[in-house]
Point group: C2
Chain length 382, copies 2
Amino acid sequence: MIPKGFSFSAVNAGIKSPDYQGLDLGLISCSTEAVASGVFTKNLVKAAPVVIGMEQARKGIARAIIANSGNANACTGKQGIDDARAIMEAMARSLQISTEEVIPLSTGVIGVRMPVERILPKVQLLADQLSDNANCFARCLMTTDTFPKIVSRRAGDANVLGFAKGAGMIAPHMATTLAVVLTDANVNKQHLDNIIYYSIKDTFNAITVDGDMSTNDTLVALSSGLIHAELTDVQQAISETIRELAMMIVSDGEGATKFVTITVSGAEGNREAKTIAMAVANSLLVKTALFGADPNWGRIVAAVGYAGIPLDPEKISLNIQGLHVVEGGQQAATFDETALHEALLLKEIVIDISVGNGPGRFQAWTTDLSYKYVEINAQYRT
Amino acid sequence: MIPKGFSFSAVNAGIKSPDYQGLDLGLISCSTEAVASGVFTKNLVKAAPVVIGMEQARKGIARAIIANSGNANACTGKQGIDDARAIMEAMARSLQISTEEVIPLSTGVIGVRMPVERILPKVQLLADQLSDNANCFARCLMTTDTFPKIVSRRAGDANVLGFAKGAGMIAPHMATTLAVVLTDANVNKQHLDNIIYYSIKDTFNAITVDGDMSTNDTLVALSSGLIHAELTDVQQAISETIRELAMMIVSDGEGATKFVTITVSGAEGNREAKTIAMAVANSLLVKTALFGADPNWGRIVAAVGYAGIPLDPEKISLNIQGLHVVEGGQQAATFDETALHEALLLKEIVIDISVGNGPGRFQAWTTDLSYKYVEINAQYRT
């Protein structure tokens, strides 16, 4: 269900090019002064909307989100900030709210000036078309996504609704991609900040498609506060929403034919386990082997070895699809190459790596690497 | 010219499979007790021949190198060490030298036991067929290489000859791939160690095809000491040999259609410049854009931003193929998308990035990422 207080709209503004006909400009409006939280890319090259949004999330108040795909408004300097502000101002005028209450989100090509002249004439339309059609907002975020990403959960009597866009430039150590989480639960700024912070740790910060970190990654959470709910219920609903969005992003990874879950256990700490898991998840040789259902487990062990975490190679054990593959750093006695090849033909791949007896553990999600990924990314702009 | 004192042979041993008909087992023999140096993978998961070779390089004496492709003898535990030693012993018997004087080199699939029963019967043949045909040794190292990699240089009256294998699992921070450098120049252990150490820094440790670091990477240098040469001449000849081998490896990178030189300048130090250059060189989005001749420069700037080195995004400038693309973190006023696209259709790509006013500088070499890379690596074993 739609969280109370929120309404949605999306239009075509021809942002990527005047010929583009899909939804590429969207609005979320909140009838109350919403509590706002946000997490942002750790890339030092930050898009204009990220620079603006970070300040807004710190203040913690918003009434609207205006989002676009087709242009990232990144590497656009002061002009980019001015353009983002011009759009925020127009949106604020149409909604009769203050400019600072409009959070901008952008995704798309880097380094091209925002086509403000095509966006501004559409802003009033956004305000006029507000409805409970949340799906249109999910669609306006799409770039190379093959399906809109929208998730809803109940938190007692309250509701949580999440949106995200995929599907490349997905890498850890940040709030990956654009995502929006809305709730009508009455949660204060500090609680919302904490919930988001802890929810992304093992979800948005545990996924990788290609190891590339975007200039625009943002997750914004808004609460209208119109319904009372227990904090633990809200916490769980938001964290499940974020988890499901993260999994959707991976399963819609550019060109992905596999959904891969990599769990590393037995490391000294969780941080060490994460570094190892991410080395395996980002290994091109592992990803291409998975695409080809190649039972070439040595590539996984090699990636464990170069992750940069001290470990004893003779303590490495590896299970793939529940099959025992490596024990004590060597091929397990029961290893069956044909069985492993057949198990790797499935779409869901589960890789369990143990590196010792430590308490550290981390689970990462990734994709395989296919011809299609190359095709999508060799032709993005043409 | 062939360095004095060295002879070569190679045979087929059906190492990858009994059906394989190419050269996959090779020998270099030295008529004197050669001075030996080596640099080895930093991967914690080290193949048996790496474990053995590291000790031999420390001692610094060798009379032979036995090398094979088709099997890495990695993740094979104590059995792998025993197998490598059995091969070294047989080779030493045939050559009437000591086992410890035979350096083993292996490359190929990880985790499969060496087919000792197919290798041992071929060892006498290797000894019997020794000649000045160095090319056959270069060929026996080949896996997915499309051409043998062999380089020669003069050092005054002395000679330097280098061999390497490519072409995937190529990553920095180590002596990448298998490589052998031979010289007849009279250079002592300490000088040879230093020459190798400094030569790989900006060559083998500056290249990347896929960011994956092998379990077997080794560069071995042997000097027969039969000819007098000036140390500076030897230094230059070896360093040029290693540089050319490194460039050959990149130009034969798996599926590569482009040879890409990335120079980062203006960083605080060379180490910072290297980290930034390698982030760009390993970015899948940059590599796929280059494959598609896509003038999507934002991906380069994004990779600079996530490299993990503190910098001011507004000080980033970028030239591609000599065309001015980014100034002060934004698209340069003179940017011409069509001109850049056309310049990117060339095979040699030159990317120059400046990140500030510091003295730090590093040049990295890499490839683009093509369909062919995915094809090669999805089907390696089948």
